[in-house]
Amino acid sequence: MKRFLVVMMVVLCFTVSAFGAERIRCASTTSTQNSGLFDHILPVFEKKAGIKVDVVAVGTGAAIEIGKRGDADVLFVHAKELELKAVAEGFFINRHDVMYNDFVIIGPSNDAAFVKGIKKAVDAFKKISVSGSPFVSRGDKSGTHTKELSLWKSAGITPKGQAWYLEAGQGMAKTQRIADEKRGYTLTDRGTWLATVDKDKLDMKIVLEGDEILFNQYGVMAVNPDKHKHVKIKEAMEFVNWLISKDGQAAIADFKNKNGNKLFYPNAK
């Protein structure tokens, strides 16, 4: 028994350690982290500013909620309407456009619903809804999911509860794999698609791209210090200002994923 206690005390001693250095917390999305963008741009910023950025990658919905509760200093997400709404409600300040990528509609390589050739995403959704082919939704309140829901709304269709509408509740790569298994269609971001199509051996192809409505804007904003006294607004603003500066924009433009694909296009004003 004594020996047991000694072993335990030793383990406990190991667990006590300190965390120093200036750091801010950035709530962001899985798509940004999993693409490798942060691994590319954060070291550049950290070296220049001497501020370490801790990234918590969740869905856009969760990221905004985390920010509203004051559990982050800065947000880097992609659901412009939700962002602007939260800014209007006073939770965040200094929101800026940072970069964009675009959404594409992908489907089985035989394109069973004959979507290819359609120009407008809304029309494509209408066609899929009556084709009998499944549509796999993220169903997780992510930026991609928000975009998808707005497209259904524009198409005047209520997909929830329909037999052909599957809500995955998972990340983009997993949702794509489910769509592949089900021979269905899904809305994905080009970054995830390019990064995973070969690796996951997806028997799928892009059936619609280039519609302006599929524009995916990423924005950055700081948590309002009037709402949460403890946030590191000075450091957060340094990060925001760097992202939209010439240096930050160049770092984003520089980034290519490991397959050599350019995923994000800087467009800060």
Binding site: M1, R3, F4, M8, V11, L12, F14, T15, F19, R25, T30, Q33, N34, D54, V55, V56, A57, R69, G70, D71, G171, A173, K174, A195, T196, K199, D200, H228, H230
Partner: protein
Amino acid sequence: MEYIASGFYHALQLILKLDSELLGIIFLSLKVSGAALVLAALIGIPLGALLSLKKFPMRSAAVSLLNTFMGLPPVVVGLFLYLLLSRSGSLGFMSLLYTPYAMMIAQTVLSLPIVASLTYAAVSSVNPVIRMAARTLGANNYQTAVAIIREARMGIMAAVIAAFGRVIAEVGAILIVGGNIAGLTRVMTTAIAMETDKGNFELALALGIILLSLSLLINTALHLIQNNKDVRSQIEGD
């Protein structure tokens, strides 16, 4: 199948290379789960023993509750603790969210019912003759309890081992309260979940193999301690 073979190959490569990032992740996993286990044992063993040795009203209800808590869904525990530790939560002033400490708390909550409940079972199944013998030899309440708990040590060790299995493999709760922050709160299980999300199946599998190997090592050590005690007690004749 191809993935599994290359997963093993990849794992071997990772172990041979053993870069500082991987070492940090492994170390943090052991630190978080180890601390949680120590806390759970320090609270859970006395609690389980007390439940078994002390008669009080509603005891069987308490035991049922404890047994139910053995099945606590990690995500629910994670969410509950997130809301509690969040800056807008009642314990927000402690700034514990997204630190290893938050992860330790989460895993303590998850493993405590296992330690307590299995300790209760182990102590309850000690032969009643022991209690009577201790009493006859003039032991007071405390001495009797110690004698019974000593007798139950194999079962208590099993409780600790079961709890270790729960925490070292756990991902749902620590992902929510830890945030999987690189170099700060990223552990083996959250790294595996992330790499799976990225579609890096080989790397994820390799990390899984390393985690399992570590578990095997630690369980072997725990088993040795368990057996060693058993042998020693026979020689000492207690």
